[in-house]
């Protein structure tokens, strides 16, 4: 009754013992083991508990289709829950824990649900837990949630790194078994750029479990030889430990390479996993075939495994699942397993064959029971015998492991990920790949060719054909020699009648044959309904073992062919892929690129607090010693700008230069205001609409020469405006002679604002910048003392006398430093975007807090800017729609709290005094608000229904979310200097 390591044989390195642990128990395996083979070698067949009934479950397979042997590997931030032991490469120090059991794997309280399973059939939860309603979330659902789930995730930071890489090739071969190796070799020798990817840590696929000789040597030696030749070729990339998980449009494949999942101490310079995006001119699926389980009573008892897995464990890993193994088969594969196990000295208790007649050779002295089936298994946490039924008679056959073999299903997952459904083949009793065109072909067992010789020749032939298609001449190599092979046929058996206990279809999700019957009775006979109602095929194995049997059982019950039932939809991922691998390096602070202004270091040096604004880091305020709250700094900066002078980094604004004879016409169509006659040397405020008539962006337009303009955009919309301009010039008006180019990165731009701005700046500038020489809205080139060429714009976003100086980016910091130096005598300060925001609010200037995509120029009080004379501009026609001109639209107003001590905050809504809050009574909302240090109280900009008619009205500022309410007076949005005297000083 034990699983054990055979004394000899297998491809494990018996000279390299590796220690690991399972549920705290220290164990040893060998290099070359998987966790599953090492667990078996230590007689640990019981590895997990099922999802719903918490039944004890053992290892079933030797590959990625494993439904049961899921463990959590590692701890803390390095925990990998739900890891399949069957594909986990063993390493020294690996720690594994079983899952979904409490308190222990051997004794699990959750298993108490098992006797109640008649009440817990498919979809039972849709029919109950409805009364009383409040108990659902308080009691029933938490219980269900706690019982469900599998592994535990710690949600701690992962200390390891991930990355991505692109790869391009002529031929991608998916699968490194006999088919894939031959295909890769043929294509590579012909000169194609080849990538060979295989999920296993050792290339060779079934050759590693094969007892047949190839070219006179053991099959694995042949595999090693081919791998060595491929490795030496410069046009070949070998990707072991790499699962191709998805096939996407244009023959792009996604693959994940487990670079360091198999090492105890990962190197910091390597990622733990790497996602490859492979662009392949051609691809060949050499993904093999999956052996089918048989659906018989008690088929989930630990020790019941796939016959092929038993073979792999014995041949490749030198591990036996038991000392006396029974085989239940419907085809030749069961006999092959029996022969191989027998050759390793493992007793074969019996071969139970569902077929009446078979030619297959059983090992000498083995009892073969034909026309028979297994209807039950015995044993507690481990199989101890099978109940064989033949012609109405039952017999108990003692054994300590069972190999089941239900035939083969080609693995065609990838070929079906782009909409085409697999096609039923009566001849193969299996679904095969649809014809998906030339980009992706299927070869070998994946193509229904199950013999070794067939796989070798199919791989070579398909690769030759591809090489010829791509214009290369494949060599006519002699195929490797193989020996006699058995006929790989089988007779489909979807369900073994007469089950004495639950016959599982989907092991992990605990879906048994009766669940499918119930689903059918309740009208869920469509394969998608059956899946969704019973959850068959929805477990972490995505039904790799179960789906085909579910289809066969449904077909049987409905009395149709599996072809009529069809399959559910195949979708990425072939096997699950970690978030980390798919995210790569773009995470945390690197989730998006960081943009830094050329004045970033200057701001940092001056103590700035930064704020993330889109990709940019912008200086928000410049705290000084003793200032405890950000408001103190901002108030000081605002007052200083109003009283003296301040400088602010405005480099992040979008800047676009335009050239050409039609540049003026182009801009005139782009903005809603008139720009055609803008004089050279002048700047003008510009307002840009979307075609639906709402404001898109605002900025300034400066005419630097007759056919040379510079426009600015807001920071947030810089990219959008550039694209919009490109759209207009390329698509709408391709005949306008205009060229443009972003110069946002070329210039460091500094706003110098305040009554002393000119005095400060004049010290740096050669040119005369007096009001006469450089009046409000002047724009043009200037030369700094010392010779540096710069640009100067007399525009103001603060309402103060302001000049914006642009210098080549690299000089920005030096010039800003100089301004601070000479400005010291004028009490200059640096100010950030928070102070900028207060200054513009006091001046009633709208920003994107106001232009929220639903605002017309008139709403914002800018209706007069819209040129009534222009025949066309973007947004003109639809601006005149009723809804955009209705009298009750919300209009921009100012608000002052009646009680000056009260504050108003953005996001509050507006109500008439005495009116009850309701959507119907909603009068508007506050778009921006701040404390005005100049006025000494809060001020706000708000949108209010017919607001401009309502100056002087008292309105309730209703902020239920923060439990605040204030009464405010509606006023003109310009709070400071409505005559613009300061700006034009």
């Amino acid at each position: 009754m034990t699983a054990y390591r055979l004394t000899t044989g297998g491809l494990v390195d018996r000279s390299r013992a590796l220690s690991f642990s399972f549920d705290g128990r220290p164990l040893r395996g060998f290099a070359g083991d998987t966790l599953a083979s090492a667990l078996m070698a230590n007689d640990q067949l019981l590895v997990g508990r099922s999802f719903k009934y918490h039944r004890p479950r053992g290892i079933v397979s030797a590959g990625p289709s494993e439904p049961n042997a899921l463990v959590t590997i590692g701890s803390d931030g390095r925990s990998d829950p739900n890891t399949k032991a069957t594909v986990t490469e063993l390493y020294a120090g690996l720690t594994a824990r079983s899952q979904n059991r409490w308190p222990s794997l051997g004794f699990d309280i959750g298993a108490m649900t098992d006797p109640f399973s008649p009440f817990l059939g498919a979809g039972f939860y849709y029919k109950t837990f409805m009364w009383p309603a409040r108990l659902w979330e308080k009691l029933y659902e938490p219980l269900i949630r706690r019982a469900g789930g599998l592994g535990r995730v710690v949600l701690e930071r992962d200390p390891e790194s991930y990355e991505k890489s692109w790869a391009h090739c002529d031929l991608l071969v998916v699968g490194g078994g006999p088919t894939g190796l031959m295909a890769a070799l043929t294509a590579a020798r012909a000169g194609l750029r080849v990538i060979l990817a295989d999920e296993d840590f050792r290339l060779g696929g079934s050759l590693l479990s094969e007892t047949q000789a190839v070219d006179g040597a053991p099959a694995y030696v042949f595999a090693d030889r081919v791998v060595a030749e491929l490795q030496a070729l410069p046009n070949v990339t070998l990707l072991p430990r790499t699962t191709v998980f998805g096939w996407y449009d244009d023959n792009v494949f996604g693959a994940v390479e487990r670079v360091q999942k198999h090492v105890a101490e990962p190197l910091a310079k390597l990622p733990t996993e790497r996602v490859w995006r492979i662009v392949a001119r051609r691809a060949l699926l050499a993904t093999g075939a999956e052996e089918r389980p048989l659906v018989f009573g008690g088929n989930d008892r630990p020790g019941v495994m796939m016959a092929g897995a038993l073979r792999t464990y014995a041949n490749r890993y030198g591990v036996a699942a038991g000392r006396s193994v029974a085989i239940f088969t419907n085809g030749s594969a069961g006999y092959q397993a029996a022969r191989d196990l027998h050759a390793k000295g493992i007793a074969i208790a019996a071969i139970v064959d569902s077929r009446a007649a078979a030619e297959d050779a059983a090992p000498e002295g083995t009892r073969v029971i034909r026309s028979a089936s297994v209807v039950d298994t015995k044993g507690h946490r481990r199989v101890s015998g099978i109940v064989v039924e033949r012609s109405g008679f039952e017999e108990l056959v003692a054994c300590d492991a069972v190999g089941m073999s239900g035939g083969w299903s080609p693995v065609v997952h990838l070929a079906c990920q782009r909409g085409a459904k697999p096609v039923w083949s009566d001849q193969l009793s299996a679904f095969v790949a649809p014809d998906v065109g030339g980009g992706l072909r299927v070869a070998g067992s994946a193509n229904g060719v199950y013999t070794l010789s067939g796989c070798l020749s199919d791989g070579a032939a398909k690769a030759s054909a591809i090489a010829s298609e791509l214009g290369l001449k494949p060599a006519q190599d002699v195929l490797p020699q193989t020996g006699e092979e058995a006929d790989p046929s089988f007779t489909a058996l979807w369900y073994v009648p007469g089950a004495k206990s639950k016959a599982f279809v989907d092991f992990q999700n605990d879906v048994h044959a009766k669940d499918l019957g119930l689903a059918l009775r309740e009208g869920f006979g469509h394969v998608e309904h059956a899946k969704r109602y019973t959850t068959s095929g929805m477990a972490t194995d995505q039904g790799k073992l179960s789906n085909i049997n579910a289809v066969g059982i449904l077909a049987g019950m409905r009395g149709v062919s599996p072809a009529d039932v069809g399959t559910t939809t195949f979708r990425p991922f072939y096997t699950p892929v970690s978030f980390g691998a798919l995210a790569g390096t773009a995470r945390d602070k690197h989730a998006a690129p960081i943009r830094k202004s050329p004045l970033h270091e200057w701001a940092r040096k001056n103590g700035a607090a930064f704020v993330e604004a889109g990709l940019w880091y912008r200086s928000a305020w410049f705290p000084r010693a003793g200032e405890k709250a950000w408001r103190e700094s901002v108030d000081r900066e605002v007052l200083n700008v109003r009283a003296n002078v301040g400088i602010c980094d405005v480099s992040t604004l979008g800047k676009i230069e335009l050239f050409g004879p039609d540049a003026a016409e182009f801009l005139n169509r782009l903005y809603c205001n008139a720009l055609l006659k803008l004089p050279v040397g002048k700047a003008r405020y510009g307002l840009m609409l979307r075609e639906d008539g709402f404001v898109y962006d605002d900025g300034t337009v400066s005419r630097l020469a007759e056919e040379h303009f510079l426009v600015t955009t807001t920071t947030a919309m810089a990219g959008g405006v550039m694209s919009h301009m490109e759209y207009c010039s390329q698509v709408l008006w391709p005949d306008l002679k205009v060229r443009f180019c972003s110069v946002s990165d070329q210039w460091a731009q500094i706003a110098i604002a305040g009554p002393k701005a000119r005095s400060v700046l004049q010290q740096l500038v050669e040119d005369d910048i007096s009001d006469e020489a450089f009046p409000f809205l002047a724009a043009g080139a200037v030369t700094l003392k010392g010779g540096l060429k710069a640009r100067l714009f007399r525009i103001s976003f603060s309402g103060e006398l302001a000049l914006e100086l642009a210098v080549p980016a690299g000089f920005g910091m030096a010039v800003a430093d100089q301004l601070m130096d000479v400005g010291r005598a004028f009490d200059i300060c640096a100010y950030g975007v928070e102070a900028l925001n207060v200054l513009r609010l006091e001046k009633g200037l709208p920003t994107h807090a106001e232009f929220d995509g639903r605002v017309t120029p008139d709403d914002a009080g800018l209706g007069r800017m819209v040129s009534p004379h222009k025949t066309d501009f973007i947004g003109k026609h639809l601006s005149s729609r009723y809804g955009l001109t209705a009298a009750d639209r919300m209009q921009l107003v100012g608000l002052k709290p009646v009680d000056r001590e009260k504050d108003i905050r953005a996001g509050a809504h507006l109500l008439r005094e005495g009116m009850k809050p309701s959507t119907l009574n909603d009068q508007g909302w506050v778009s921006s608000a701040c404390f005005s240090p100049v006025l000494g109280h809060h001020i706000a900009l708000a949108f209010l229904k017919s607001g401009r008619e309502r100056y002087g009205e008292r309105i309730v500022v209703w902020d239920k979310l923060r439990e605040q309410e204030a009464v405010a007076e509606v006023c003109d949005p310009v709070f400071v200097d409505p005559e613009n005297a300061r700006m034009k000083a």
Partner: protein, 92 residues
């Protein structure tokens, strides 16, 4: 299509280099056109299941608007042309 676009100026490029603007078969009406014509241009879409023309801007490449003729069901791309050339040919 959803993975790669062959830019006529830059060659084969991944999807993430592009920004999609929408239906490229629309023609901006004359300023004097009817309200209905403007409404249809801005708001109404043929939205075919099958061949369609769509504007993809190669934002991370040449920044040209490309007219991508593609199938919205199979995702096959039939042609990619420069947007300005397409506009001129179609008499805009």
């Amino acid at each position: 299509m959803a993975s790669l676009i062959t830019c006529p100026h830059c060659g084969v490029r991944p999807k993430e280099e592009f920004a999609i603007r929408g239906d490229a078969s629309l023609v901006r009406p004359a300023p004097t056109a009817s309200d209905e014509a403007w409404h249809d241009y801005v708001y109404v879409r043929t939205n075919p299941r099958g061949r369609t023309l769509e504007h993809w801007q190669h934002v991370a490449g040449c920044r040209r608007f490309l007219v991508v003729e593609r199938d919205t069901f199979t995702h096959d791309v039939h042609s990619v042309t420069d947007g300005a050339a397409f506009a001129r040919e179609n008499g805009r």
